[in-house]
């Protein structure tokens, strides 16, 4: 669908110089914060506050020293936060994807009672702001003694109505009924038809939903901030927010904490950037599905 050559007309490469210059400015704007973080995570506290050029390296470049400090500070709590984020993103991402793929396929391929009504409910849920759910979910979980546990973060991230919507649209278009009927006629059960015939056809959308839900869990801030009080359960977002609050509160006494935060921000971004770049072919195809209907 994103392949122009398939549409028939093959266009020669277009190079508009003014537009490329404009693009160059935009790229600089979008990259400045990264550049600042990359440069300044090489500095120690004197380099950071010494008044040198803030967009260029100071005399001493000490990435390894800062990394070592980051991972040893406060008994290596930062490493724990990264592991927590990984756990929350994987459990939440995989769980949400399994549920969304099954539900999207079910909505697209079976005519069952209350189907239209249920699907309308899911679409309505797209409009419910996620943060409006945080306080009541916290209250519910506290009744069951689930707050301040990993489940308080993982369970709410299983809910992904947008994933169901994407999978529904994709399954409807990419999995022809005739193929399913043929598999059934050959004696395959419904589950086997789903796993062996439909699922491979839905793979691009599955990757998209998996990536988007894993990233949503990794990026989550409000929910774990509300749910968790034990800082050893924090994801990296809440942890860095905590450090940032401490460092701002006693500015003079915690100059070394600032260099940890900068290094910590850089490290926390690396897994997501890798995930997006390695999987970009898949998620972009999947997003076009949502944007075209």
């Amino acid at each position: 669908m994103s392949d122009r050559s398939r549409a028939g007309v093959r266009r020669p490469p277009q190079r508009h110089l003014p537009l490329q210059v404009l693009l160059g400015f935009l790229v600089v704007y979008f990259l400045v914060p990264f550049w600042w973080v990359i440069v300044n995570s090489s500095k120690d506290a004197p380099g950071l506050f010494g008044g040198g050029n803030t967009l260029w390296f100071a005399g001493r470049i000490d990435y390894l020293g800062n990394l070592e400090q980051l991972f040893t500070y406060d008994n290596g709590i930062y490493g724990r936060w990264i592991l927590n984020s990984t756990l929350y993103a994987l459990a939440g991402g995989v769980g949400a994807t399994v549920l969304a793929v099954m539900a999207g396929y079910g909505f697209a391929k079976y005519r069952f009672a209350a189907r239209r009504f249920s699907f309308a409910l899911v679409l309505g849920a797209l409009m419910v702001p996620a943060t409006a759910l945080v306080i009541p979910t916290f209250m519910m979980f506290s009744e069951f003694g689930l707050t301040n546990t990993i489940w308080a973060v993982i369970l709410p991230s299983l809910l992904n109505p947008f994933g169901v919507y994407l999978m529904h649209v994709y399954a409807r278009d990419a999995v022809p009924d005739e193929i399913l009927d043929a598999a059934r006629a050959d004696g395959a059960g419904e589950v086997r038809t789903f796993l062996q015939v439909a699922l491979p056809l839905m793979r691009p959308a599955v990757v998209t939903v998996l990536l988007l839900s894993a990233v949503a869990s990794w990026n989550n801030y409000f929910l774990p901030l509300a749910m968790l009080s034990d800082n050893r359960l924090f994801p990296v977002t809440v942890g860095l927010g905590l450090w940032q609050g401490i460092a701002s509160a006693n500015n003079a006494g915690s100059t070394s904490l600032w260099s940890l935060i900068i290094m910590g921000a850089l490290v926390s971004v690396v897994p997501l950037v890798i995930a997006f770049f390695t999987l970009q072919r898949h998620w972009r195809g999947g997003l076009s599905v949502g944007g075209l209907r």
């Binding site: 490329q20 990259l31 400045v32 990264f34 005519r111 759910l133 076009s288």
Partner: protein, 310 residues
């Protein structure tokens, strides 16, 4: 989004063989069921619970009592809630059009320019979306900072005083900048994907009729990606009205500027978790959720007449 499916061969077959229908219902529910359980437990139940909680009030003396809509009356006459709501409305009116215009302009450029640099740019412009909003806010907090941000260096070159985006005068624009930086690339990718889905034969036909590049962009490309534009408009509306992460993070750097009631969401968080006033916090959450829902639904209702998106 409500799909209109033509009766498939499957439908007809099942109408003839009524016996099979029970199996069809059962299988459908088996596939949808697991999500349904999560949906009931983590969406419907919390919403119902929030509604329930919001109708009560806990007092030091006399315990918890049913107060019906008192909390809502209180919210809609509470200067903190009203000023926060007014802020997010003003913020939406400025930041959403800006994000969409930037995203659309970038998508159109990237659709028109096909060079190696354009492909590289596409990825770089998208990069901020891969950054957690909290980390994005931390990064911009650094850049705005007087003690180690580059603004004083850059403005010093021209002999000018640096703007303080953490001051109460400029925090609005400081936040508009963070949000645009964070989201424009994501919206650009959605619009770009939609542009790539257009059949280029249409452009050929338009060119033969004498249409220029601008006319093709304005009269063909933009109308054809209207559904994608509507989608990102809704996304940004839902996201902006529940604004929380960025101001919450920048708060510690701009304590005098951003109060605990800066946005309705922050106010609800403060009421619930700092003041243990869960009933009022729930009422604010529910009122906010209700406003978003009604707002988006009304918006969709009015656009539905002209667009086939929903």
């Amino acid at each position: 989004m409500i799909e209109k499916s033509a009766p498939s061969a499957q439908d007809r077959t099942y109408k003839i063989r009524g016996k099979v229908r029970f199996r069809e219902h059962l299988m459908g529910w088996l596939f949808v069921g697991p999500f349904g359980i999560v949906f009931l437990a983590l969406l419907i139940a919390p919403l119902a619970y929030a509604l329930y909680l919001s109708l009560f009030q806990k007092r030091l003396i006399g315990g918890t009592s049913f107060v019906f809509l008192d909390n809502y009356v209180k919210a809609f006459t509470d200067p903190s809630f009203l000023s926060g709501s007014w802020f997010v409305i003003r913020f939406s009116l400025v930041s959403i059009p800006l994000q969409i215009i930037v995203a659309l302009a970038m998508a159109l450029i990237l659709d028109a320019v096909t060079s190696l640099f354009a492909r590289f740019s596409r990825l770089m412009i998208f990069l901020p979306y891969a950054i957690p909003t909290v980390i994005g806010a931390v990064m911009w907090g650094f850049l705005y900072s007087k003690s180690f941000g580059p603004l004083s260096d850059i403005f010093g070159l021209f002999g000018a005083a640096p703007p303080d985006f953490l001051s109460s005068n400029l925090i609005f624009y400081g936040l508009v900048n963070v949000v645009t930086w964070q989201w424009a690339g994501y919206y650009m990718i959605i619009l770009y994907a939609a542009l790539q889905g257009i059949d280029p034969a249409l452009y050929e036909a338009a060119r033969m009729d004498g249409a220029g590049k601008w006319q093709i962009a304005l009269r063909i490309k933009i109308p054809l990606i209207a559904p994608a534009l509507l989608l990102i408009l809704i996304f940004s509306l839902i996201g902006t009205l529940q604004f929380f992460n960025e101001p919450q993070i920048l708060r510690s750097l701009a304590a005098g500027t951003i109060g605990p009631d800066f946005t309705p969401n922050m106010y609800a968080y403060q009421q619930a978790f700092a003041l243990a006033n869960f009933n009022y916090g729930s009422a604010i959450s529910f009122a906010l959720g209700g406003i978003v829902f009604v707002g988006v639904y009304a918006f969709l209702f009015f656009t539905r007449k002209r667009r086939s998106f929903l």
